[in-house]
C-alpha cells in the first residue's frame, strides 16, 4: 500500500506535480535529442570517413606517409597480401597507387590526389561508387581511360557548367515561375557559364531582385550540369623523375559529405597509372583494408603491426585522430549534457518534495504515531520522488523516442549551412541516433536523481517528532 499511497500523494497537488513532470519530460526530450543529434552526426562522420576516406586499416611503406613519395611502394606485396587474405576478420582489401598530380582542363587547372585502384576491389572497401551523382563507375571504358572525380574537384576544373536551354525551360519543374520570368530566362539561352558566379551575375541581370531572391538558388541548381566525358590532362612524375602527361575522360562525378576530400581526390585505374608512371605490376603505395567492425580494425591493425614490423600498419584511429577523439569521447560529452540536466532537475525535485513534506507535517506525525516506522516513511517519500521523475522520464522517453525515430528516417536538414558543414566533413542532413544503452542509461540516471533528490526531504520527515507534528495546524 506504500506504493499506492506514494502514487496517490503525488496527485494531491496536480499543478505542482504536473509542472515537475513536464519539466522532466522537456529535459529528457532535450537531453535525448541533443545526444541523438550529436551521436548521429558523429556516427555519420565516422562512417563516411571509414567508408570513403580511410577504411579500417591502411598499410604503407614506412616512409611513404612522410612525403608521399612515389618510390616508397609496399615491398613484398604478394607475400603480404597472402597473409592478409588468410587473416580472420578481414572482409576486403583494396591496393592503391597514390600520386600527386596537376590536373588541367581547357578552362582551369587544379592539384589532385590520383588514386589508382582496381575498381572491383575498391568497391568492396569504399563506397565511392554509391556516391556517384553523375555518370558511371569504370564500367564502359572508351579509348581514353576513365576518371571518377569529386564534385568539388570538377567544379575547380570548371567541369560544372550552367546553361539555360529550351529543353529545360519547357519542363514542368519550373513552370510555376510564370511566363514572364521564363521569358526573361530565355534571353540567357545559348550561353554556357563555367562558374556559378558568372551564372548568378547573368541571372541578376535578367531577373527582378525579388525573383532572384526567391528562385536564384533553385535556378542555379536546375541549370547546372557536369561535363561528363570531358578530357582531363594530368601532369605527374614518373618513377624516374621525368614528367608524364596522361589524359583521362571524366566518367563519373561523386559527392561525399566531405568537400575537402571531393576537391582533392580522383580515382583512375591503377594499371593505367602504373604503366604510364613506370611502376611495376606489384607496386602499390597503399592497401586499404575493411574489417568486420571498426573496433576489430583497431585490434587487427595492432596484431598485423606486430607481425609485419617492416610496414607502417595503422588503424583508422591513428590515420584520423579527430575521428578517434569524437568516437571515444562521445560518451563523456553525453554524460556532461545529462549531468547538467540532472543537476537542474534535482533542484526542482528537492523543492517540490520539501514542499510536499512541509505541507504534510501533521499527517506524517499521525502516521508515525499510529505505528509507521521510519523505513516506511522514508520509502514513501522516496517513492513519491521516483514516481514524479519516472512519470516525466517515461513520457519524455516516449516523446523523444518517437521524434527521434521519425527524424532518424527522414533526417534533419541543415541545408542552409551545408557549405560550411561539408567543408569540415559533416553532412548537412543529420540522422539522429541514440544507442539503446545510452537510452536506458538516461532512464536509470533519472531514477537515481529522483532517489538522491528525495534524501533531504525524507530526512526532514524522519526528524519529525510525532507528538509535536500532531500539534501543528
Amino acid at each position: 500500500m506504500i506504493w499506492s499511497i506514494a502514487w496517490k500523494n503525488i496527485w494531491r497537488s496536480k499543478v505542482r506535480s504536473l509542472v515537475v513532470i513536464i519539466a522532466v519530460t522537456i529535459g529528457i526530450f532535450g537531453a535525448v535529442m541533443l545526444i541523438g543529434i550529436m551521436q548521429g552526426w558523429i556516427n555519420q562522420r565516422v562512417s563516411d570517413a571509414l567508408n570513403n576516406e580511410v577504411s579500417h586499416i591502411q598499410i604503407h611503406h614506412p616512409e611513404f606517409l612522410l612525403n608521399e613519395e612515389m618510390k616508397f611502394t609496399i615491398p613484398g606485396y604478394q607475400t603480404l597480401i597472402d597473409s592478409i587474405e588468410n587473416t580472420t576478420g578481414i572482409v576486403a582489401f583494396s591496393p592503391r597507387v597514390k600520386i600527386f598530380a596537376l590536373a588541367q582542363t581547357d578552362w582551369a587547372s587544379s592539384g589532385l590526389v590520383l588514386k589508382g585502384i582496381d575498381p572491383e576491389s575498391e568497391k568492396q572497401v569504399s563506397k565511392i561508387h554509391e556516391n556517384l551523382i553523375e555518370g558511371g563507375y569504370f564500367d564502359d571504358e572508351s579509348v581514353l581511360p576513365s576518371m571518377v572525380i569529386g564534385s568539388k574537384a570538377a567544379e575547380n576544373l570548371k567541369l560544372l557548367n550552367y546553361e539555360v536551354t529550351t529543353d529545360k525551360l519547357q519542363k514542368p519543374e519550373i513552370s510555376e515561375l510564370g511566363e514572364e520570368t521564363l521569358k526573361k530566362l530565355q534571353s540567357l539561352e545559348g550561353t554556357r557559364y563555367r562558374s556559378e558566379k558568372d551564372f548568378r551575375i547573368a541571372l541578376i541581370s535578367v531577373l527582378s531582385p525579388h525573383n532572384y531572391k526567391e528562385s536564384g538558388d533553385m535556378l542555379v541548381r536546375y541549370f547546372s550540369f557536369y561535363r561528363l566525358r570531358a578530357k582531363v590532362t594530368v601532369t605527374a612524375q614518373k618513377i624516374t623523375g621525368e614528367l608524364v602527361y596522361l589524359t583521362f575522360r571524366v566518367k563519373g562525378i561523386y559527392k561525399t559529405n566531405n568537400t575537402a576530400f571531393d576537391g582533392l581526390t580522383a580515382f583512375v585505374r591503377s594499371d593505367v597509372l602504373k604503366s604510364e608512371t613506370g611502376l611495376g605490376a606489384d607496386d602499390y603505395h597503399e592497401i586499404a583494408i575493411l574489417t568486420e567492425s571498426k573496433n576489430l580494425g583497431v585490434t587487427l591493425a595492432k596484431d598485423l603491426g606486430e607481425k609485419f614490423s617492416q610496414y607502417e600498419i595503422m588503424s583508422w584511429k591513428e590515420l584520423s585522430p579527430d575521428l578517434a577523439l569524437y568516437s571515444d569521447y562521445m560518451k563523456v560529452f553525453d554524460l556532461m549534457y545529462v549531468g547538467i540536466f540532472l543537476l537542474a532537475l534535482s533542484f526542482g525535485i528537492i523543492n517540490t518534495m520539501l514542499m510536499a513534506v512541509l505541507e504534510r507535517v501533521k499527517e506524517l506525525g499521525m502516521l508515525m504515531a499510529i505505528g509507521m516506522n521510519k523505513v516506511k516513511v522514508f520509502v514513501m517519500i522516496m517513492l513519491e520522488s521516483v514516481f514524479l521523475t519516472l512519470t516525466g522520464a517515461v513520457v519524455g522517453m516516449i516523446v523523444s523516442g518517437l521524434v527521434l525515430s521519425y527524424f532518424s528516417r527522414v533526417g534533419i536538414n541543415l541545408g542552409m549551412w551545408a557549405e560550411g558543414l561539408e567543408a569540415i566533413g559533416y553532412s548537412a542532413i543529420i540522422y539522429p541516433y541514440i544507442s539503446f544503452d545510452v537510452y536506458i542509461g538516461v532512464i536509470l540516471l533519472v531514477i537515481l536523481t529522483g532517489i538522491l533528490s528525495s534524501l533531504w526531504p525524507a530526512r526532514k520527515a524522519l526528524k519529525l517528532n510525532p507528538a509535536e507534528a500532531l500539534r501543528t495546524e
Partner: protein
C-alpha cells in the same frame, strides 16, 4: 486486570531555561474495559499525560507499564512497533489519510501489521459496519462529514486490536448530534467488546458518558471519580 500502570510519572520541559513541570508525580492504574476521561483546564498536563500513555513522549521520571512492559525504556523502531500493536489513536482533527478511502484507511494499519489480506478485508468491513459506515467503504475522507470521518478514525484505531485506545479531544470538532452518535458507538464497543477507551476532553458530554473521570490540574491528579452505572 490492569492495562496501564503509571508509577509516579514526572514530565519536565526545559523551556527557555525555565523548567515546566507538565506532569508532576502522577500514579494511576487503568483497568481493562475502562471508559475513562482525563479532564482538566488547558495547560493542566492532560495532553502530556496522554502523549506519554501513547508512547509519543517519554517521562522524565517514573514508569509507565503497559501489559508489563515499561514503555519509557523502549526506543526507536521498538517503540513504534509497540504503538502499532498495542495502542489505538483517535485524534481531535480525525487525521485520516486523505488520498485513501475509508476502507483503505482502516486496512492500512493492518497492512503494517502484516495481517493477511482476506482477514484484513473482512475485519475492515466488520469494523466500518460497526461504526455505521458499512455503505461508505469507498468514500474518501473529503466526501465524509466530520462525524463520519471520526467514526472511520475509531474503526482505524480498533483495527490493530490494541490494548487500549487513546482519544485526544475526539469530539472537539463535532456537532452535538455527531458527538452523541460517536460516543454511543464507542460506549457500545466498550461494553460489548471490553475495549478500553481513555479520553482527554473538555466536553461535558464525554464526561457524562465516562464511567471514570480523572481530573488533572498543575500536572497532578486532583480527583479520580468512578461512576457506578
Amino acid at each position: 486486570m490492569s492495562v496501564i500502570d503509571i508509577k509516579n510519572v514526572v514530565k519536565i520541559y526545559n523551556d527557555s531555561e525555565v523548567k515546566v513541570h507538565a506532569v508532576n508525580g502522577i500514579s494511576l492504574t487503568i483497568d481493562e474495559g475502562e471508559f475513562t476521561a482525563i479532564v482538566g483546564p488547558s495547560g493542566s498536563g492532560k495532553t502530556t499525560l496522554l502523549n506519554m500513555l501513547g508512547g509519543l513522549d517519554h517521562p522524565t521520571a517514573g514508569e509507565i507499564y503497559v501489559g508489563g512492559t515499561n514503555i519509557g525504556t523502549l526506543k526507536g523502531s521498538k517503540l513504534i512497533d509497540f504503538r502499532l500493536h498495542n495502542i489505538g489513536f483517535v485524534f481531535q482533527s480525525y487525521n485520516l489519510i486523505p488520498v485513501l478511502t475509508a476502507k483503505e484507511n482502516v486496512e492500512f494499519i493492518m497492512q503494517m501489521q502484516k495481517v493477511p489480506s482476506k482477514i484484513r478485508e473482512a475485519r475492515t468491513r466488520e469494523l466500518l459496519t460497526q461504526v455505521g459506515l458499512g455503505d461508505r467503504l469507498d468514500s474518501r475522507p473529503a466526501k465524509l462529514s466530520g462525524g463520519q470521518q471520526q467514526r472511520v478514525a475509531v474503526a482505524r484505531a480498533l483495527a490493530s486490536k490494541p490494548k487500549y485506545i487513546l482519544a485526544d479531544e475526539p469530539t472537539a470538532n463535532l456537532d452535538s448530534k455527531s458527538t452523541e452518535n460517536l460516543l454511543d458507538i464507542m460506549e457500545k464497543l466498550n461494553r460489548e467488546e471490553k475495549i478500553t477507551f481513555i479520553f482527554s476532553t473538555h466536553d461535558a458530554r464525554v464526561m457524562k458518558k465516562a464511567r471514570r473521570v480523572i481530573t488533572v490540574e498543575d500536572g497532578k491528579v486532583i480527583r479520580d471519580e468512578r461512576k457506578t452505572n
